[in-house]
Symmetry: C2
Subunit: 319 residues, 2 copies
C-alpha cells in the first residue's frame, strides 16, 4: 500500500504533456482529442502479457519500448500518422524502479515517433500491458489488407526471420556469440515500426500488413481479405547476415515464413507503380525487397529456386 | 491449441458490424473511424483484473456487462455520446462457453448504449480485460473536473454506498437475504452508466465525475482540480432502502463516502441553474440529490446534522 495508483500515474506518466490535437490529456474522466480536419482516425489495440509475449524479468525499459513499437507497427501498416496512445498497465507490485525504467523507455519511443500519451489505467495483477495507438489517415487512402490483385508484386520493407531467431535465443534453444546476441535482442526489443515506409506507400501499394505472426500468416491475411493467392520466391527473401551465419538456410526460411515478430511491412504493388517505388527507394531511403507475386486463386505457394518448399512449422498461435 | 485466436475473434466478436462513423471495423491492422463533424473525441481506458476488480469465477456475461458499463460511466462523466469501444481480453484458456457468455453480455450492453465494438486483441494469460470507450462531445462543452466554484451546489445522480455493500457481500463480510442479495448483485454487475444524465448536464453543471472510488475520493478530485473545498451533509446522502435496512446508518455513510463502485455522477451546479435542473428533473426524469456545497479553500468536510463526521476508512487504493 506504499504507493497509490494516482501518485504512480502523476509521477511517471504525466510527463506526456501536450501533443497535436490534445485538448485535454491525462487527469480527467476522459481525454479530449481533436482529430486533424478532414482526416479519419486509425486505431489499434494490442495486449502484451509477461511470460507470453516477453520474458517477465526483462528490462522494463525494453518491455516498454517493444510494447509501443509493436503497436506503432499497426499504424504503419495502414499508412497512418501517429497521434496519441493510451496505456493500460497491470503490475504485480508498485515497484518504483520498474515503473521509472518503463516510463523512460515508453517516452523515448513516444518522442521518437511523435505520439502523445493521453490516458490509461494502472492496476494490480499479473504483469501485462494493453496499448491503443491512434493515428490520422486521409479518408479512403489507408492501406488495407483487401486491395491486392492478381499480378501485383509482393514486397517486404526489410529482413524477415530475425524475430524468430531472437525468440530462439531468449528461449535458450539457440546459442550465439555476443555480436549476434546484441543484434537479435536489439531487433526483438526495439523493432522499428515502418511509419515512414507506410506513409510513403499510401496511394502506391494496393495492400499492406505488418509482419507480426510470420510472413505466411500475415500475407495469408492479405490473400484471404483480397480473394487472391500468392507465390513466394524464397531465394529472394531478405535475410540478415547474422541470421544467415547462425542457422542453415532452411531454418532461416522457416523462421522468416512462420516465425513472426519481424514488424516489417509486407505490401503489394501493381507492376505499373514500380518506377514510382524505385524513385522512393532512391529519394527517401525506402527499403523494399521483391519476394513474390500475387496470383489468382487462394493460398500461398513457397518456391525455392523453382522447387516447392515445405514449411516446417506454422504461424504463432496464442492459444 | 484447440481454438486459435483469430477464430475466437471471428466467431464471437465480429457480430458488432457497423456503427456510426465506422469506416472499417474489426479485421485489419487498424479500425478506421470518422468522428462526427465538429465534435471532439472523448476517450477513456479501464482495466479490470480477475480476482481484484471482480471474482474470477463470476458469470462471464456479468463480467462483460460490468466491464463495459464501468467504462461507459467515464463517457457519462464528460457528457459525451458513446460511439465505439475496443476490447483487450486476456484469458487463461480459450474456453468457448466462457467466451460465448462474455460476448453475449458485452453486446447486450453495447446495443443498449449504442456503442460499436471496432477492434481489440485476445491473448492468453491471467484473466483481465482492458476496454477503451470513445465518445463525441462538442468542443469546450465537456464536463470537466476543474470547473467547480465556491457557492456551487453538489449533487449525485442516484444512491451511493450500494457498491461497497455489494462488495461486502461478495467478500462474505455481510450476510443478506435473497432480495437484498439480488439488488446488490444487480447493482454491482449491472451499474447504469449515467449517459443520459451526463448529456443533460452539459452547459448546466460546472464539473462532474463518476463515483468509482467513493464520493470522498472522487469529489476530492473535483476539489483538487478546481482549487476549492466542499461540505457534505450526510443526512442528505441518497441511500437505497436495502442498504438502510442492512447496516447501521454510520456504516452506510462510510460506504457511501469511501466505498466506491457506485457509478453515479457527482456534479456541481451554480445556484442560478437550479430552476433549469428542476425542469430537467421534471421533464427528462433526471435524478439529482443535493448533498452539499462547494466552499472556498481545500478538502472536504463531512457534517451529519451539523456535527463533524469522522469517516472510518479511505478511498479504494489499487496498490
Amino acid at each position: 500500500m506504499a504507493v497509490g495508483e494516482f501518485e504512480l500515474i502523476e509521477e511517471y506518466f504525466r510527463q506526456g504533456g501536450g501533443g497535436l490535437g490534445v485538448a485535454l490529456g491525462i487527469g480527467d474522466d476522459c481525454a479530449l482529442l481533436q482529430v486533424p480536419a478532414g482526416r479519419q482516425l486509425a486505431v489499434s489495440m494490442d495486449t502484451l502479457v509477461g511470460g507470453i509475449h516477453f520474458p517477465k524479468n526483462a528490462d522494463p525499459e525494453l518491455i516498454a519500448e517493444r510494447a509501443l513499437r509493436v503497436n506503432l507497427s499497426d499504424l504503419a501498416a495502414m499508412g497512418a500518422e501517429p497521434l496519441w496512445f493510451t496505456l493500460g498497465l497491470t503490475l504485480p507490485e508498485a515497484d518504483k524502479q520498474w515503473i521509472k525504467g518503463f516510463s523512460e523507455g515508453l517516452f523515448r519511443v513516444a518522442n521518437e515517433y511523435n505520439i502523445a500519451l493521453v490516458g490509461g489505467d494502472t492496476t494490480k495483477g499479473a504483469l501485462a500491458m494493453t496499448i491503443q495507438v491512434h493515428g490520422a489517415v486521409e479518408p479512403d487512402k489507408a492501406l488495407l489488407r483487401s486491395g491486392a490483385r492478381a499480378g501485383d508484386l509482393i514486397f517486404t520493407t526489410g529482413c524477415v526471420g530475425d524475430g524468430a531467431g531472437a525468440l530462439a535465443v531468449i528461449k535458450q534453444e539457440l546459442e550465439v556469440g555476443k555480436s549476434a546476441f546484441n543484434y537479435l535482442m536489439q531487433h526483438y526489443y526495439r523493432p522499428e515500426p515502418q511509419i515512414a515506409a507506410g506513409s510513403l506507400l499510401v496511394g502506391l501499394a494496393t495492400s499492406a500488413i505488418d509482419i507480426s505472426d510470420g510472413l505466411l500468416a500475415d500475407l495469408g491475411h492479405i490473400c484471404t481479405e483480397s480473394g487472391v493467392g500468392a507465390e513466394l520466391r524464397l531465394e529472394q527473401l531478405p535475410l540478415s547476415d547474422p541470421l544467415k551465419k547462425l542457422v542453415p538456410r532452411e531454418q532461416a526460411f522457416d523462421w522468416a515464413l512462420a516465425g513472426g515478430d519481424d514488424y516489417q511491412l509486407c505490401f503489394t504493388l501493381p507492376k505499373q507503380n514500380l518506377p514510382r517505388l524505385e524513385q522512393l527507394i532512391d529519394q527517401h531511403k525506402l527499403e523494399a525487397h521483391h519476394v513474390g507475386e500475387v496470383v489468382q486463386g487462394s493460398g500461398i505457394t513457397c518456391l525455392h529456386k523453382g522447387e516447392l518448399f515445405e514449411v516446417g512449422s506454422h504461424g504463432y498461435q496464442h492459444f
